[in-house]
């Protein structure tokens, strides 16, 4: 799984450079998030703009990151959701769990 991270003052922006987030790569997303937590970084923006498809295990990996960040007084926020991806968050009511922003800038400004 290709993921790029950029450090900003208030948070890390992690960009998922994959078209598809499914049971084949969601565990890797979980462990990439774990790496950031272990480096002491617990405020994270996940940029999903390249993700065209997400399944329940991709959603699950994001929830697991969200809970881990919370237990470290941090937060995981999302940005760049494509239309169909967004509708998966709505269907599973996860749009009420995550703070979701149109752009990286808006997500960063919210910390």
């Amino acid at each position: 799984m290709i993921v790029t991270s950029k450090d900003f003052d208030k948070a890390v922006v992690m960009s998922i450079e994959e078209e598809r987030l499914d049971a084949h790569n969601s565990n890797e997303l979980k462990s990439q998030l774990m790496n950031l937590f272990e480096e002491g970084k617990s405020n994270i923006v996940i940029d999903l703009q390249h993700v065209r498809f997400i399944d329940s295990s991709g959603l699950g990996a994001l929830v697991s990151g969200f809970k881990n960040a919370g237990s470290r007084e941090g937060n995981v926020k999302l940005c760049g959701l494509q239309k169909q991806v967004k509708s998966m968050f709505e269907l599973t009511r996860l749009h009420r769990v995550f703070e979701i922003f149109p752009s990286e800038e808006e997500a960063l400004a919210s910390f």
């Binding site: 498809f53 599973t92 009511r93």
Partner: protein, 150 residues
């Protein structure tokens, strides 16, 4: 009802093939000219998703990630009906125990069967010759009933 299109696939029990199966599902959706009330991209996504969820469950829960097992998938499309069947070689489970309630938003798993049930019109899980089959059905009839295949 004439069977328009039948696709049968056998793949190794490995998650790296989820993408291929989902993609084939999207191609089949693309062969439909007129759609259910949904837009074409939405139907393609939904077919991709239910195939991905059902196959991932077969791989993980039924076939216990054994890479030497297979998953068998069949897609049947008529003018106004879509059938998707995913066969596993596991011990089975009671699908009625996974009820229709929205899954706890704080859980990091347990949304697969819910999504399948939300997006398809009927879902059954039953024993068959070599194991079990998850049988998913969706009507593609439009309100005005002028649905056709491209």
């Amino acid at each position: 009802m004439k069977n328009l299109l039948e696709v049968d696939i056998k793949v190794p029990n490995q998650t790296k093939y989820l993408r291929l199966i989902g993609q084939i599902g999207e191609d089949v959706a693309g062969a439909l000219q007129k759609f259910n009330d949904s837009d074409p991209e939405e139907l393609a996504y939904h077919i991709n998703l239910v195939l991905t969820e059902a196959m991932a469950n077969a791989i993980k829960h039924a076939n216990k990630n054994d890479p030497n097992k297979d998953v068998h998938i069949s897609i049947n499309l008529t003018d106004d009906q879509l059938w998707i069947r995913v066969y596993d070689q596991g011990q089975g489970f009671d699908i009625s125990s996974a009820d229709m309630q929205t899954p706890d938003p704080e859980l990091d798993h347990g949304r697969g069967v819910f999504l399948i049930r939300s997006l398809m019109d009927s879902v059954k899980y039953r024993r068959c010759k070599k194991g079990n089959v998850l049988e998913m059905y969706k009507s593609l009839r439009t309100s005005c009933d002028n649905h056709s295949v491209e």
